[in-house]
């Protein structure tokens, strides 16, 4: 892997960590709404599939060894076994999906980018997160699904911000 990829991986892992400074809002079920999923979306949309996915894997490695990089100052291996563990595991996959699909379609249309980012950041992420949350917090499937509906509006807003930022940054920094 070239040096530029390593630096970009570190940068987007750090960006996701820095987004933890926005205070989280916790809903029933124990999975918080944070600005950090914006980091996941931007890692995929700006750094690309491979770099973005690896950036999230690096971030999770740092969390796993106990650095308090998650919103609310949380960290440590125990987090992966808690209710939001499945969502965290989905971060690299979600970032990879977003990067891959954006590159494959090559679109620069705001709505198309929003749709891809929203799909990766919501559908892909939830399909890993909800089953684990149901298992870890001992919920029924229907309840798990209902609880997660509360997160959809916030995630849609974040997906729109990510699409907009990606479009603007591509314009301002064409060598990306």
């Amino acid at each position: 892997m070239d040096t530029k990829s390593i630096v970009y991986i570190a940068l987007f892992a750090a960006l996701t960590a820095a987004l933890a400074l926005f205070p989280p809002i916790t809903l029933p079920g124990g999975v918080p709404i944070t600005a950090q999923s914006l980091g996941v979306m931007l890692a995929g949309s700006l750094a690309g599939a491979r770099r973005g996915g690896l950036a999230m894997a690096l971030f999770l490695l740092l969390v796993a060894v106990g650095l308090p990089l998650l919103a609310g100052g949380r960290g440590g291996f125990g987090i992966f076994l808690g209710p939001s563990g499945g969502f965290l595991i989905a971060w690299p996959i979600s970032a990879f999906f977003i990067g891959y699909t954006l590159a494959k379609t090559g679109t620069n249309n705001l709505l198309a980018m929003f749709a891809i980012i929203a799909f990766g950041g919501i559908v892909v992420m939830y399909s890993f997160g909800i089953p684990w949350m149901i298992f870890a917090a001992e919920m029924t499937f229907l309840k798990g699904l209902t609880v997660m509906m509360a997160y959809v509006p916030g995630d849609l807003i974040k997906a729109f911000i990510a699409a907009f930022v990606t479009q603007q940054v591509r314009k301002a920094y064409p060598s990306l």
Binding site: M1, D2, T3, K4, I6, V7, Y8, I9, A10, L11, A13, A14, L15, A17, A18, L21, T26, L27, P28, G29, G30, P32, L42, L46, L58, F59, L61, L62, V65, G66, L67, P68, L69, G72, G73, R74, G75, G76, F77, G78, I79, F80, L81, G82, P83, A136, A137, E138, M139, K143, I161, F164, V165, Q168, V169, A172, Y173, S175, L176
Partner: protein
């Protein structure tokens, strides 16, 4: 800045970082195999007693749980009202035990020791193309980038405030992103120019 290490001489401080990590992962997994309150309660009490044994105050133990207290409270209420109070106590205790143990490892291990342990631990991944030296470089860079990102954001925010744009998210986020990407490109050129090959 990110180091939560508290210096000390206890057996937990002296224990190698790699061993502590492996034990934490093992205990964290085992806790999920139990489904009655007694072993989980024993584990929680054991985790608390480890704090004084590692010459850490109980206030430190509390500080590990405190950031999650609202999550725990809501989890407790939801489980208690919708499932049973028995399950609610069980889940909250398990969560608290995990937080206490993970905190214990963080408080008794320097970040640098942790990074070294991970870099060494990744050697067995070499055959599938993972270069531990590169992972180590990425970890160090990421930890350095976090305070840099915060200071770049502060600079941009001040500049936009002077223009009366402090309320605009776009006027802050886009310049920060562009400056960080430019910096990343410069850093990678600088690393290459010095012939660094991990």
């Amino acid at each position: 800045m990110l180091d939560l290490y508290v210096s000390g001489q206890s057996f937990l401080h002296r224990c190698p970082a790699g061993v502590k990590l492996l034990v934490l992962i093992a205990v964290g997994t085992v806790l999920f195999l139990f489904n009655s309150i007694t072993p989980i309660a024993v584990a929680t009490i054991f985790a608390i007693t480890l704090y004084p044994m590692a010459t850490l105050s109980l206030a430190r133990a509390w500080a590990q749980v405190r950031p999650a207290i609202w999550i725990l409270a809501i989890l407790f209420l939801v489980q208690g009202l919708l499932v049973s109070w028995h399950i609610a106590v069980f889940i909250v205790l398990r969560f608290a035990a995990l937080l206490l143990l993970a905190g214990l490892v963080t408080l008794t291990t320097r970040s640098s020791d942790m990074i070294d342990a991970i870099t060494r631990g990744l050697h067995w991944l070499r055959p599938i193309g993972v270069n531990p030296g590169k992972v180590g470089l990425a970890i160090s860079l990421a930890l350095r980038f976090i305070p840099v990102l915060a200071s770049v954001t502060r600079d941009v925010r001040e500049a936009q405030q002077a223009r009366g744009l402090e309320r605009s998210l776009v006027a802050t986020v886009i310049p920060v992103a562009v400056r960080m990407l430019k910096m990343a490109d410069d850093i990678s050129d600088a690393i290459d120019a010095r012939g660094y090959r991990p």
